[in-house]
Symmetry: C2
Subunit: 240 residues, 2 copies
DNA sequence: TAGATTGTTAATCGATTAACAATC
DNA sequence: TAGATTGTTAATCGATTAACAATC
C-alpha cells in the first residue's frame, strides 16, 4: 500500500509528491482542449505583433471568443511560468509554452507515400515545418514522379522500408489512392512507423500501438454543407 | 400564449403538433453526432457488401466500436423508416437516410480560389463528387495556370465575382497563399458565397451569415504527434 | 407465446462555466 | 492599502450510457 501525503502550498494548491508529479505531468488531455490550443497561439501571436507584453485571461478569451474560465484552465496545462495576479500572463513565454506543448519546436521526420497531386501538394507545402513536421522523402510506384520536389527526393516504394527503418522514421503521410491505402499502411508499419496521417477515404486497420489520424474531408464537407443548409433555411424563414 | 397539446402514440413517443414538427425536424445536431455519421455509413456499406439486409444497433455498434445506445440515438435523428424490434434496421434504407442527412445526394456547386499545387490536387480529386461537392471552376491570378484541370476551367480571379453571382454559387474552396486568404474570402462573400472551406492557415473574418470551416492541418498534426508521443513514452516505461 | 430489439426516458459521466480565496 | 487577476474548487450544463416499456 502506498501512503500519499498531500500538503497545501500558497493559494491552496495541492502539493503532489515528486513520484506522482511525473505522472500528473501527462494528464489525459481531451480533444476539445487540444483543438483550442492553436487558437490561443494564434491570438497570442497577434498580440505580440501589436507589442503587448502581457495579457489577462479575460483579454485573451475575448480575442478567441471563449470563456475566461476555460482559458485559465487550459493555460494551466501548458504554462511553466505562472501568470501574475493583477498583471496576467507574459505573452512571449506563453507562446513558447504552447509551442512546446503542441510539439512545434520538436521537429519530427516523416515519409510520404503516394506522390500524386495531393502528395505533391503536401511535399511542396512549406508550412508543415512551422508545425514541426519534416517530410524527408516521398515514395511511389510510378517512375514518372521519381526525382525531387521542393528539394525532397521521390523514390521507388520498394526503398521505403529500409530507408524508414534506417532513419527511425515514426510518422507516415498517406496520400495513395484509396484501394492502395491498407497495403501502404502495412508497409510503413512494418518499417517501424507508429503514426499514420491518413488523407485517403479508406479506413485503416492498424495495431493498437500505431496511431491513425484521418484527415477526413468527407466529414468536414458534410459539416460545412449542413451548416450552410441551416443558414439558408433560417434566412428563408426570416424573409417570409 | 400558445397552448400545446401533446398526446402519446404507440411506444409512448410524444406526438408533436404539425406546426412544431417542422422546427423539430431540424434539431441542433452536435458536432460529435456529426462526426459519427460517416462511421455508420462506412460500416453499413461494408455490411451491404457482405450481403446483410438488416442490422441491429448492437451489431452496428460493435463494428464501429461505439456504444449501442449512442447508435440508436444517432440513427433516430436520420431514419425515415423505423427499425423493427427483433429484426433491426434495413441496411439499404439506412444508407440512403444517412446519405441524405449528410447531403451526399444533393450535389452542391462550388468555386475554388487559388490553383496552386493544393488547389490543383483538390480540383483533380474525383472523390468530392461522391460527397456531393462539384467544383465548377478554379480562379487564380497567375496566367500560367489558366486553362483546364480535370475538365474544369481555370479562369482569372477577376471573373470570379460575376461568374459566382450568375450561377448562384454558395460554396467556395480557399487554397490561396495565407496572406491572400482574407482578400479572397472578401471577394467570394461579395459574390454571394455563404460557406467557405478554408485550407489556408489564416483565420478568416466573415459576417455571421457566412460559415467558415477550417481544414486545419496544424491541429490535426498536433493531435497526431501528441498521441505518438504518448505511445512512445508508454512503451519506454514498459520496457524498463 | 417468448425473447430480441426498438425508441425513449432516467442515471451517469465529463466538460464548461461560475465563484472565490490567495495574492501581486 | 485596494482592486484586479490568478489558480482552483464548486455548480451547471450537455453528452454518453444504462435501463425499460413497447412490440414485432
Amino acid at each position: 500500500m502506498t501512503t500519499t501525503t498531500t500538503t497545501l502550498n500558497r493559494r491552496g494548491r495541492a502539493e503532489v509528491p515528486a513520484a506522482l508529479e511525473t505522472r500528473a505531468a501527462n494528464p489525459p488531455v481531451s480533444l476539445a482542449v487540444f483543438n483550442r490550443m492553436p487558437l490561443y497561439l494564434r491570438g497570442l501571436k497577434a498580440l505580440r505583433e501589436e507589442g503587448e507584453l502581457t495579457v489577462s485571461s479575460v483579454a485573451l478569451a475575448g480575442r478567441v471568443a471563449l470563456n475566461p474560465s476555460v482559458v485559465k484552465k487550459d493555460l494551466s496545462l501548458v504554462i511553466v511560468n505562472e501568470g501574475k495576479p493583477k498583471v496576467g500572463y507574459r505573452v512571449d513565454s506563453l507562446i513558447e509554452d504552447l509551442e512546446n506543448f503542441l510539439g512545434y519546436n520538436n521537429t519530427k521526420d516523416a515519409v510520404l507515400v503516394g506522390v500524386g497531386r495531393l502528395g505533391q501538394a503536401l511535399m511542396g507545402y512549406r508550412g508543415f515545418e512551422k508545425y514541426g513536421l519534416n517530410i524527408i522523402a516521398g515514395f511511389d510506384t510510378n517512375p514518372e514522379v521519381y526525382g525531387a520536389i521542393n528539394g525532397k527526393k521521390v523514390l521507388p516504394l520498394g526503398k521505403l522500408e529500409s530507408a524508414a527503418r534506417r532513419l527511425a522514421i515514426k510518422i507516415a503521410v498517406l496520400t495513395v489512392p484509396e484501394e492502395a491505402a491498407q497495403g501502404a499502411a502495412d508497409t510503413v508499419i512494418r518499417a517501424g512507423v507508429r503514426a499514420i496521417w491518413n488523407f485517403t477515404a479508406a479506413q485503416i486497420r492498424a495495431p493498437e500501438n500505431v496511431v491513425v489520424k484521418n484527415e477526413d474531408m468527407a466529414v468536414s464537407l458534410a459539416v460545412l454543407s449542413q451548416q450552410l443548409k441551416l443558414i439558408l433555411e433560417r434566412e428563408e424563414r426570416e424573409e417570409k
